[in-house]
């Protein structure tokens, strides 16, 4: 069965520091890959997604993610974190077939705290 692992439950970084959130997946074939962010009291907002092509994907709010097939990873990065980035981040995967978007599997989430 497919699974998504986010090894870090909590991460704390200083404002202005760089950030990397890890995501590993276990899947039969390369899936579609997503990162979502959930601010306190809010629903999930899509940050970025990878379907094919360039393995470095740019998203909103200055985030990017890199797909590495050999490592089954899709890590999220930001060069300089802002206090407003404090939130919970979820990695998700979906299989590559019709209606793939219906079959999201989520990781457990990583809660990011930002120190002033």
């Amino acid at each position: 069965a497919q699974s998504v692992t986010q090894p870090d439950i909590h991460i704390t970084v200083s404002e202005g520091a760089s950030l990397e959130l890890r995501c590993n997946y276990s899947y039969g074939a390369t899936p579609y890959l997503f990162w979502y962010v959930q601010s306190p009291g809010q629903g999930l907002q899509l940050l970025l997604k990878y379907f094919s092509g360039d393995t470095l994907v740019q998203g909103i709010k200055g985030f990017e993610a890199e797909f590495k097939r050999s490592q089954s990873s899709f890590n999220l990065r930001k060069p300089s974190v802002h206090w407003s980035d404090a939130a919970e981040y979820f990695c998700a995967v979906a299989p590559r077939f019709n209606n793939a978007g219906n079959m999201l599997t989520f990781g457990g989430g990583t809660r990011l705290m930002v120190k002033p």
Partner: protein, 111 residues
């Protein structure tokens, strides 16, 4: 912008009560979803619907049912609420693209 709304942000119910959670989307999306979110477990799919009156079980359908009488509205029903159904419930919708859009969530407490 896609808008997905949920009828309540916070709800408190008693064990054994019948609970209705409502979700409405305004983008004419065919697909709608209900998830529950628990700490450390991420989101888990309860049910989804790909058309009016059509539904499919997700990963954790036990104790829940759904209703989709109109395209824009998808209801989650807890026939007899139990304490282990205390959770955050998130609704989402998806059009033809492979991206799901989420509502703000309903935090349900069952006493």
């Amino acid at each position: 912008d896609v808008k997905v709304t949920q009828s309540s942000r916070y709800l408190v119910k008693r064990t054994g009560e019948k609970v209705f959670l409502e979700c409405v989307q305004d983008m004419d999306h065919e697909n709608m979803f209900w998830y529950r979110q628990d700490p450390g477990l991420g989101l888990r799919l309860i049910y989804f619907s790909y058309d009016v009156k059509m539904k499919e079980k997700g990963d954790i359908p036990e104790g829940y049912s759904v209703s989709r009488e109109k395209k824009e509205r998808f209801s989650l029903i807890l026939e007899s609420a139990s304490t282990n159904q205390t959770s955050m419930y998130l609704c989402a919708s998806r059009g033809r693209a492979d991206t799901q859009y989420f509502g703000p969530g309903t935090r349900l407490t069952v006493l």
